[in-house]
Amino acid sequence: MLGYIGRRALLAIFTVWAISVLAFVIIQLPPGDYVTSYIAQMASMGSVVTDEEAENLRIQYGLGQPIYVQYYKWVKLIAQGNFGMSMEWRRPVTEVIGERLWLTVVVSVSALFLTWVLALPIGIYSAVRQYSVGDYLATFIGFVGLAVPNFLLALVLLYLGFTLFNAHIGGLFSPDFQDAPWSPARAWDLATHLPIPALILGLAGTAQQIRIMRANLLDELRKPYVVTARSKGLSEARVILKYPVRVALNPFASTIGYTLPYIVSGSIIVSLVLGLPTVGPLLLKALIAQDMFLAGTIVLLLGVMTVIGTLISDVLLVWIDPRIRLEDT
């Protein structure tokens, strides 16, 4: 067991390194650099950047150097616990990401929570009453969430919120609480802003979870022990909930690892539309601006989260289900 964990951990480190290289390369792929993006951005807003100024900027940011030099610089900084300066924000990357990161987690966890609250009952019902009208209806509702283009839905909800409820537009806080220090009032303000983003983000994942739950439960329900339990006289509810559901939940453990980074990156567009101060829109803007250290750090972060998540899932799975251990060794 320990050997297995050790090996996986080693491989994980290698994966993380590979991700860092890949991340850097990808960010550099679009032509131009931060300065060209900056000039274009200025041009869009009606300002002119003279060639001299552009040249000055390039020299100061060290953008003329080859990519591996810049990569090496970055890795050196990371080793010192410093993730570099964001060119666009003129602040250390850690500060820029700072508060947004855990807000992202809050939003993602809320979305996840909503997903499970919706998906599990529907999945169970669907499996138990397979091919019934209820099954179809339930899966239909679940799948609508998957099919609706969520950015459009987000915009519509934003507008409706304003016209019907005079709600404050977008964001996770009311203007008064945006910069205020933490307090119960601020936490409550956050909570009131969470439902719409959580709903839109959570809907898409619902269908997938319904499907998995349904399939797993169906597999379990066909097993002999269920027939035994029923014949022994247990009520239907106990028959289903006591054992099969718990077993069917096992594979969920294996997917936890992937869900958080999936939700973070899957939520980029919706966060952008809703104007949420999360990591997604930050990454998008950093990519467009070619703000290397900021974009690279976020991508690396997401990658690391995935790798750690996978590691945890794999270990969990091996721990829970001994059969898999045999297969892998």
């Binding site: 993006s37 000039i39 300002s47 003279t50 020299i59 100061q60 003129r90 304003f162 977008g170 104007g275």
Partner: protein, 682 residues
């Protein structure tokens, strides 16, 4: 939605008809009235506050905001008269003297949106500035400007007793510091600016006495007042982020400069503050939007910087601006700009009335939604059309050489003119400008002093399909293929040209180009529309890969400070008329490619204008526009429209708001309306 009209019974038909006729008549009258008013009730009359130049009319006693009075009482601030000095900058408010208090809320899009703050809240802190018509240059932070020695020397007289926001005096030393230690330091400013030079030769700044600064140039530099007034590198402290501005707070910045602190000591500071280099730290410290500790001269100063979710600015107790009653300006205590992650959210917030005065980033296409929600949001909508000829223009890249056939046609004037005649501008105006623009050639508004005359407004800028076809037939493109597109003269098939556009701008370049593509089918031209990312556009343009480029020419109304969209002036451009010409122009002929005769003529006139008196310069300006309109290097599509920062949303109870502003980057609109005079009526 569609309405169904049911035919009423015959008896009431006549009376209903009469009523309908009366209503129609009334509507026609109202509409005519609205038209007479300048296209729409949303476009008002150009107006703005005036700077009082006559010292005898200055107020004798001064008043200040209540919270400042408290501080004076507590001994934290000197009395107001001492803070302002002996030469206040007196502004007569547009409508009435206002009252103190309140917060101004607005929206910004991120750390790259610093122009947002420069425009609304920097004063503006130019030494000279425009009057509200954008036409006349007048003293601003400088008390006066004196020309000597045939234009070679200019004396800037400062205001006596004027102070930085931390109470230290603002003197000629701040100019010398900037010139010697910032501008001339090759690390801070590797490449000098053209604003400080005449005919390529750099000038210098010297101290005459504490209140007088001398700008000296090797040749007459008549344009200097305009340069000091416009948004150029010499225009004010807002330019500090790139090491420009003309002056800088010496007493504060010296601690970050190796000459005064020593390199070793400085390196230690740099490391502690986690900067890459002392250069980056210095420029950061001199950044008006980023450094709350930087002493400033503007009426508001940054309190929480632009790289946070809320950019807050608060009143500067040492502000030199006062109104005619002696009240120290600004009236409004704070400006709070909140971050909007994307433009739709920003616009939606403006629609919802979450902003008090917002002019930036508002989308003309949403105008009906803005109007619809005026009552609910408690605001009023205004339109400020620009004075430049091209809210949308199309540039021909005259240097394009990847395809000699296309290069040939781009350099044929009649080809360009014919294409210009093939555009149905009324359609485009109605669809994308909602009818508020003006179909036009590239020349600026009639009221602009460089306008060459009304006959140039529609020169080569009408819809004349017949003539366009004739012209194209005549120059050698008469042969067409089975679908009606013209064939190349070199026999290689259909003539296909490409236009590069950017998405996500104030103006819908891609969609408009799509429309033009349909329109040019009628003259047999096959246009391919390619929308690209911003950086990609820049790269391709600079590498001479662009054929046609769609953009706007805002700023060109100030032809001499913003020539970028009149002739190829910068390599770093989203659309260019000729990158090789840019190189030729800036290298005095040693690099690049020599422009064709008329373009050369245009460039020569432009260069000459800096060194001649105003009257001659105006004449040169007119001639430049004449050439531009005749040669059609750039096709003007729709001009003088409000698409680019011309949609303004203002809360109904804000006072001293002009009904129309001069919309120009040089005017730092709304800076030109002196936001220091805005106040909350209550």
């Amino acid at each position: 939605m569609t309405q169904l009209w049911r035919t009423p019974r015959r008896g009431t038909l006549r009376s209903r008809l009469t009523i309908a006729l009366l209503v129609a008549l009334l509507t026609a009258l109202v509409a005519a009235g609205a038209l007479a008013q300048g296209k729409s009730a949303l476009i008002g009359k150009l107006e703005g506050p005036e700077v009082v130049a006559d010292p005898t009319k200055f107020p004798k006693t001064f008043k200040e905001a209540p919270q400042l009075t408290e501080q004076v009482k507590a001994g934290k601030l000197p009395p107001v008269a001492e803070r302002i000095g002996q030469d206040p900058l007196v502004i007569k408010p547009l409508h009435e003297v206002g009252r103190y208090g309140g917060t101004w809320r607005g929206g910004f899009t991120g750390p790259a949106d610093f122009w947002n703050g420069f425009r609304c809240c920097s004063g503006p802190d130019h030494l000279m500035f425009w009057d509200y018509t954008g036409d006349k240059v007048m003293p601003n932070l400088a008390r006066s400007l004196e020309m000597q020695d045939g234009g070679r020397t200019w004396l800037v007289h400062l205001r006596r007793g004027m102070k930085w926001s931390d109470g230290k005096p603002f003197t000629a030393d701040d100019f010398v510091f900037w010139f010697e230690d910032v501008y001339r330091n090759k690390d801070l400013v590797p490449t000098p600016t053209a604003a400080m030079a005449i005919n390529g030769k750099q000038g210098e700044i010297q101290k005459v006495d504490a209140q007088t600064v001398r700008f000296r140039f090797p040749e007459p530099y008549y344009m200097l007042p305009d340069v000091l007034a416009g948004s150029t590198d010499l225009a004010g402290q807002w330019g500090g982020y790139k090491g420009m501005g003309g002056f800088a707070p010496a007493h504060y910045l010296k601690q970050f400069h190796p000459k005064y602190v020593g390199q070793a000591e400085l390196d230690k500071k740099v490391k502690e503050a986690k900067f890459d280099s002392w250069v980056r730290m210095f420029l950061f410290k001199n950044d008006w939007a980023l450094n709350p500790e930087l002493p400033v001269l503007s009426p508001w100063k940054t309190v929480t910087p632009i790289n946070t979710p809320t950019w807050t600015l608060e009143r500067n107790p040492y502000s030199v601006f006062v109104d005619t009653a002696g009240n120290q300006l600004p009236y409004i205590d704070r400006v709070v700009l909140t971050l909007a992650e994307n433009l739709e959210v920003l616009n939606l917030r403006a629609i919802a009335g979450e902003y008090d005065f917002q002019q930036r980033h508002l989308d003309l296409g949403k105008l009906p939604v803005f109007i619809e929600n005026q009552a609910k949001g408690g605001y009023k909508v205004y339109l400020d059309p620009g004075d430049y000829g091209g809210d949308m223009i199309i540039k021909f890249n005259l240097n394009y050489d990847a395809d000699p056939e296309i290069a040939k046609w781009f350099n044929t004037a009649d080809f360009r003119r014919a294409l210009a005649l093939g555009i149905d501008r009324d359609q485009i105006n109605e669809t994308f400008w909602l009818g508020t623009g003006t179909p036009s050639s590239v020349v600026p508004a009639d009221s602009n002093k460089y306008n060459p005359g009304p006959q140039y407004r529609r020169m080569w800028a009408t819809l004349d399909v017949r003539k366009a076809n004739e012209m194209l037939d005549k120059i050698g493109l008469a042969k067409k293929d089975t679908e009606g597109y013209r064939l190349r003269s070199d026999g290689k098939g259909r003539l296909r040209i490409e236009i590069m556009t950017l998405g996500g701008q104030f103006v819908q370049f891609t969609q408009i180009s799509e429309m033009i593509r349909e329109q040019w089918k009628k003259i047999g031209i096959d246009l391919v529309v390619q929308e690209v990312e911003r950086s990609l556009a820049l790269k391709r343009t600079a590498a001479n890969e662009q054929q046609l480029g769609a953009w706007n020419n805002d700023g060109s109304e100030h032809l001499f400070t913003f020539p970028l969209h009149v002739f190829p002036f910068e390599l770093a451009a989203v659309a260019s008329s000729g990158p090789l010409y840019v190189k030729w122009f800036h290298s005095a002929g040693t690099q690049g490619k020599e422009p064709e005769p008329r373009m050369r003529e245009l460039m020569d006139k432009w260069k000459k204008a800096f060194g001649v008196p105003e009257k001659e310069r105006i004449q040169l300006g007119k001639e430049i526009w004449k050439i531009a309109a005749e040669e059609v290097y750039i096709i003007g599509v729709i001009g003088m429209g409000p698409a680019s920062m011309g949609v303004r949303v203002v809360k109904a109870n804000l006072g001293n708001i002009p009904s129309r502003q001069y919309n120009s980057p040089d005017g730092k609109t709304p800076g030109i309306s002196r936001p220091v005079t805005f106040y909350w009526k209550k």
